[in-house]
């Protein structure tokens, strides 16, 4: 307990200079590096895009205000955390660490997983800060298309321009919003649903279990994309909301299966028996005693599912069944570049790379979480 407090360094001057520096000086490389990277990158955004940041006050658009908020929050967080942690509050020897604390310590040791976490944080920051990272508009088409269409990658247009002369880099930045938010919400829906169905099915057993699991079997028999295409085709104009809901409502069965098999063994355990003996009702037992104990596998499934859903959404928008074309989504941009693949390879190539890196990030985190949360599953 005292090792952390004993090392309390009173170096307010250093801490104020650079976030993460006090941590680095004390050998806390992970914390120090993270804070420094965060602080410096935010400063870089501020420095290189200062006029764009100023434009926030005149543009009057919500996403720019959100970006400003993110920028300020990230800057404050970097310095504040650096100062607070420098105070030696991060004592390592916490007596009787909880399961989550142990898992976090395990996760931190896994370098690929931490890399994935960095990638993910960077992605979300980029998504929120998009207006400050580019001076172009993602959907605006300039009048003089011929002079700007299909320009190759250059310092002006980092990833070239597409057939309407729009900056591909800008479109990918804004497309990240669509892909990440659709993925996040759809996973939230499908994980919640899958956990509930799986827990109910496993806990009650009998007829309930049979009926629910037959339904799950049926849903799983459809190739995912085929089922999604069929259901989305029912709507005249697939909007983001519809796509998210359909994704969430069709992808839960695999989670339900995982949760069910966990619950089957959990329900025979003594503490559940004790809860039942105390006369607790089934909803309370499921929500308070069963579900908290299956959260580990569920979180792993959610993280891996996030990467999967981003791939599926990209496929759907590639087929023109997700967001409508002027809105940039990674799949839409790839499809835009398809007809001019030879003349302008950059239009299709870069959004694909963005997808690969995003999915890699989530897969790395998912694998790391699996190792951290359930050592039995270590491959």
């Amino acid at each position: 307990m005292s090792s952390g407090r004993g090392g309390r360094g009173r170096r307010p001057g250093v801490a104020a200079l650079l976030p993460g520096l006090p941590q680095l000086l004390r050998g806390q490389r992970l914390a120090g590096f993270s804070l420094m990277a965060l602080g410096l990158s935010m400063l870089a955004v501020l420095a290189f895009g200062f006029d764009r940041v100023l434009a926030t006050f005149t543009a009057g658009r919500v996403d720019r205000w959100i970006a400003l908020l993110t920028l300020v929050a990230a800057l404050v967080a970097a310095w504040w955390l650096s100062a607070v942690w420098a105070g030696g509050r991060r004592a390592d020897a916490v007596g009787g660490a909880s399961g989550w604390a142990i898992a976090w310590r395990e996760f931190k040791k896994n370098r690929p997983a931490v890399l994935g976490l960095y990638l993910m944080v960077a992605l979300y920051l980029v998504t929120l800060l998009a207006p400050y990272l580019t001076s172009y508009d993602p959907t605006e088409i300039v009048d003089d298309i011929l002079s700007v269409r299909h320009l190759g990658p250059s310092p002006d247009h980092l990833m070239g321009t597409d057939k309407y002369g729009r900056d591909v880099y800008t479109r990918i930045l804004y497309g990240a919003r669509i892909s990440l938010s659709i993925g996040f919400i759809a996973v939230a829906i499908s994980i919640t649903l899958g956990t509930l169905v799986g827990a109910v099915s496993g806990y009650f057993g009998g007829v309930v279990d049979t009926v629910l699991m037959r339904f799950v079997d049926t849903l799983i028999s459809f190739p995912r994309l085929v089922l999604l295409i069929t259901v989305i085709a029912l709507f005249e104009q697939p909007s983001i909301l519809i796509v998210v809901t359909v994704l969430g409502l069709t992808l839960w069965p695999s989670t339900a299966r995982i949760v069910r098999s966990e619950v089957l063994s959990l329900r025979e355990r003594e503490f559940i028996e004790a809860a039942r003996a105390l006369g607790l009702g089934s909803p309370r037992i499921i929500l308070r005693h069963i579900i908290p104990n299956v959260l580990g596998p569920v979180i792993v499934a959610a993280t891996l599912g996030l990467g999967n859903i981003i791939l599926i959404e990209a496929g759907l928008s590639f087929l023109g069944l997700s967001v409508r074309p002027p809105t940039p989504s990674w799949g839409v941009i790839i499809n835009d570049g398809r007809e001019f693949l030879l003349e302008a390879w950059w239009v299709s190539t870069f959004p694909g790379l963005a997808i690969v890196f995003t999915v890699v990030a989530f897969n790395l985190i998912g694998d790391g979480l699996r190792d951290a949360l359930d050592p039995r599953l270590r491959m």
Partner: protein, 335 residues
Amino acid sequence: MTAYIVRRLLQAIPLVLGILTLVFIIMQAAPGDPLAIYMQPGVSPEVLEQMRENYGLDQPVHVQYVRWLKTFLSGDFGVSVTQNRPIASILADRIPNTLLLSGTSLLLIFAIGIGLGIIQAVRQHSGLDHALTLGALFIYSMPSFWLGLMLILIFAYKVHFVEWWPEVLKFPASGMDSVNYDMLGTWGRFTDRLHHLVLPSIALGVSSAASVARYMRSSMLEVIRQDYIRTARAKGLPERSVILKHALKNALLPIITLLGLYLPFLFSGAVLVEVVFAWPGVGRMIYDAVSQRDYPTVMATTFVFAVMVVIANLIADILYAAVDPRIRYEGGRRE
């Protein structure tokens, strides 16, 4: 063994019924009147009413359901609105093409996956092992349709600008056969088809291959640790035969179950890859039907896809029972 097969077949029946019911429900939710195409100025309301009666569309839902089940199960999927052909005959043309593509992919997946998995397991923690693991992670995270486009860009377009590139390795960008396919001999047709298969089957299969390699690696590592392998080594067998003869057999067992797992995934990918490569399969059929709002075709295709998955799962289970006698005595279903 026969008893096991019969039991698995019986289990598949409610599944197919469930699939049919779900398709029916989705179909009922489809917008528009099924007779909408006949609603033209030249068709009188009385005729429409008569047709409604003939098709049984005036009956209550459950009667329609039973009736629809009967026709659907007899293989009558109705007529494609846009192609004006029985859907069953279009499907008969398209299904073999999809099976050819997915089958080739499947071969590729297991050949590459198992091969790499063995190499990684034998050289565990070597530089090669780490490099392959990292590569597999990236390949596993790639969207198949994008990979397809990149393959077309490089191996169908860009290679034509490289002088020394061998002609055989310049692949066609789309389609299933060349223009002069009908004039070729048997061998010519075979190689032409193979040439067209290369890029799409790689695009479709490579991500699953990466994942098979991962499973194979851990399965192999598990087996290598066992006592009988140590015995085989102790009695002086060459390492090669220990790995390829003794270890491989048991390491392959869990891999067979993956077969059933990857097929739905493969068919999902087939939709995208068939669109990218203009491959005339079922996946492209459903895509075309969706863009033309041809609902009867969409439903029939969805049904066919689901049934293909069920059949594939059956085959995988039976295959597994054939190679691993333990499974047959378990009685219940395998999870």
